[in-house]
Symmetry: C2
Subunit: 472 residues, 2 copies
């Protein structure tokens, strides 16, 4: 069962798709245009809790020119277009709320170029991050942005994804050097050259990053890469208190430890991880660390963090240089979402995220845990503690609609709490359908009006992913 978030139920309007339009699509795209119910349904749902809204047709693009041609066909007929990558977004970004055409870019998987000496590469939007890293490994390079899911690079750019490595390597905002974008008027624009920085005009690259398909369709991405560190170590440490865990991280950053990853998992999330991944960690607030550097540098980082953990109520500090240990740890972390949902048999998941200044993180998590307990619900919390960003994952009984209503209320209070702490309503999931009123609460009517002016200027017909970020 799915229900909409109460604040974000968009009006369904006619999509202008008729037989003549479908015939034109079919002429141009042949078997890459599909209208079967199963494939439309697959493109109209998401991993999250939203009611599915299928498109009228799905087109599989194989090139930037395919995308431009589709845009021109849709513009002529005033048909909405919804870009689709791996379908792993969790705020309903891919739902066709006004019908129209879902454009699937997952066949655009060419690695256009790798410039090892310049630490950059250019890939088509459908390349997934795990495949990219496999491809890069032999050249001693890696792409650090890791949102958990094996998302497409295009989708990650469109939603300003980040994840476990952001504390050291930044988010998609920092990782992208340039984009190729098809604009609502059917033009193909490259937003920047390949230089590592530029002061040339408005930052179109950053404007498209996080625009959720509402301003253009990203078809190629030029990314900054990094040298694979000489040494990588990982560590796990449970803490007496949440505050102690966060303080250990803040003090590590203050002293200059360049933490590559530092994840916080609450007691409930550790229980889920233990069950799902057959592990036996203590079920207390726990930090997962990763350290990158030279052998001596990593040894120094580990020693510093071990001391700070002990000084802040940390227990046994288990660290390892073994790749298989590290892989086991991060596999457990990456499966945390599914682990949390499986805390309850037959449950469906509702996940949300906020991000606050790190000094407010203990208060924000503690108050949220109290709120969840008082509502008689169960949820797992995990987060990117170095950024102040955390997720709450609710496993919901699909046969109890009142649970959805209760979770929606907790989510609203969570957002209000984060905003009151000078935080944001979403650190990395995006606005999509679920957080449109939160966006206004966060930045005010005037700032959102400015976003709408930009949308209106670049997409005057409102055909690009309508109903996302702002109500259609």
């Amino acid at each position: 069962m799915h229900i909409d978030h109460p604040v974000a139920a968009p009006a369904v309007r006619p999509s202008n798709v008729d037989a003549a339009f479908l015939a034109r699509l079919s002429d141009r795209f042949g078997e890459d245009c599909q209208t079967g119910q199963a494939i439309r349904d697959q493109h109209g749902k998401s991993e999250a809790h939203f009611t599915p809204m299928p498109p009228d047709a799905v087109v599989f693009a194989r090139s930037t020119q395919d995308v431009a041609d589709l845009v021109n066909l849709c513009r002529a007929a005033q048909v909405p277009i919804v870009p689709y990558g791996a379908g792993t977004s969790i705020e309903g970004h891919t739902l066709a709320v006004r019908g129209g055409v879902s454009i699937n870019l997952s066949n655009m998987t060419r690695i256009v170029s790798v410039n090892a000496e310049d630490f950059d590469c250019t890939v088509e939007a459908g390349v997934r991050r795990e495949e990219l890293n496999l491809y890069l490994r032999d050249q001693g390079l890696f792409f650090p942005i890791d949102p958990g899911a094996n998302a497409t690079i295009g989708g990650m750019a469109a939603t300003r994804a980040s994840g476990t490595n952001a504390v050291r390597y930044g988010t998609m905002r920092e990782a992208v050097l340039s984009l190729t974008v098809v604009t609502p008027d059917g033009k193909i624009v490259r937003t920047a050259q390949r230089a590592r920085k530029s002061a040339a005009g408005y930052d179109l690259t950053r404007l498209f990053i996080g625009s959720e398909g509402t301003l253009g369709i990203i078809t190629e991405v030029t990314l900054r890469l990094h040298a694979i560190p000489e040494m990588i170590s990982s560590a796990v440490c449970g803490f007496d208190t949440l505050r102690g865990a966060v303080d250990a991280v803040v003090q590590s950053i203050q002293i200059g430890v360049p933490l590559a990853r530092v994840e916080i998992l609450d007691d409930m999330q550790m229980r889920a991880v233990n069950r799902w991944s057959k592990l036996d960690y203590p079920e207390v607030t726990t930090l997962f660390f990763e350290f990158h550097g030279s052998p001596a540098g990593v040894a120094e980082q580990v020693e510093t963090v071990r001391e700070l953990a002990a000084a802040n109520g940390g227990g046994d500090f288990q660290w390892s240089n073994l790749p298989e240990e590290r892989a086991r740890l991060w596999k457990a972390r990456h499966e945390a979402y599914y682990a949390a949902i499986n805390l309850r048999a037959g449950a469906v998941g509702w996940t949300t995220d906020v991000c606050v200044p790190i000094s407010r993180l203990p208060d924000c998590i503690e108050e949220t845990k109290r709120d969840i307990a008082e509502a008689g619900l169960m949820a797992a919390i995990l987060g990117h503690v170095g950024d102040g960003n955390f997720h709450v994952i609710f496993p919901i009984d699909p046969n109890r609609p009142e649970e959805f209503v209760a979770v929606a209320a907790i989510n609203d209070r969570l957002v209000a709490r984060a905003l009151a702490m000078d935080g944001t309503c979403t650190g990395e999931h995006g606005i999509g359908l679920g957080k449109q009123s939160s966006l206004v609460a966060e930045l005010g009517e005037d700032a959102v009006a400015m976003m709408r002016m930009i949308k209106q200027a670049l997409d005057p017909d409102g055909l690009f992913n309508p109903g996302k970020i702002f109500a259609a």
Copy 2:
């Protein structure tokens, strides 16, 4: 003597400033509104080679509300507004090409808040970077962005400044968490909360960074800060060849050395530095380094770089942990611009910058040096080699207009060369008046048309710093 860059001579149009308008300014701002010739002239010129264009009046703002009130007065009378900070920009950003009011924000110097545990602070736009770092020092924090000049933080945000530390700490694009902006319709907008990352809607923060006063006036800036490193060392090393120097840097980055600063100075720039700062370095292509980290980490970095320098034709590798040695070195670097101009008695300066993928940097610099020599001119080159960004500083005889023409032609060829290498026409100086046609050459008519659509949407009357980025 000043001349305009031939491609960027803007049309001067009436500014709608009349006695009644000046009386309204005077009523509202009293002595903070000035119309004397000397102060208008001061605000109408720049450090660079452009013909001065004074505003009709100068208003000294003391608060965001002052700025909003001025914007509303100007909007009602359709009078242009040009924001002014420290006046250190070098592409003519502060010139009042259509007259109007120059708004000087240099009295807005409040440090609004420092959140040491969150590694951030909020300052008014007129705070200068050196004063900010003095203020932060006791708390063990620093703000790394260093464009050389002691610019205002607001001006640095407006021009997307970067400088010597960008290789490690990024540019203003990465350093700014949030802005307070007065928009062309007189609204006061905060672009983001204080969280370190956010996926909430379009990235208004990054849209204003680098918009050169054409979309809004920045009045407050929230900045990311960093812990002052436990150990800082510096080093100097001359090289047999330019290519050897760049290769030493590329290999250092590949091996994972987190260089904090790495500057390249050519033979001519070294001659200028030696003369100006009374030093006696060999007058060959030279790298200036800075290393940040723990004592052991810095020692390891120095040793690695020393070996790579030697392997690439580096000479004597002089390094030091002494703060006074470091200060002497970076003072010489920061005075490089004046040192270069003073290579010729009575000269005026024309400076330009481009940024290319680092693998193309040796070719780009070598071809540029040949071009300068063939034109019978003299220029110094220095750059942020880790970013692929370099500056050319021409000391020009003000009594020989043909030199301006020759330099303009060299600049055009330099930009064309950088673009052909997938670089940008400006790494950190901005477009201003001098690089408007270069912007079109770099990104194409369609991308620049998109920028104009945004400008038109947010500033339909075209009153905010008219004639900059695009011709008025």
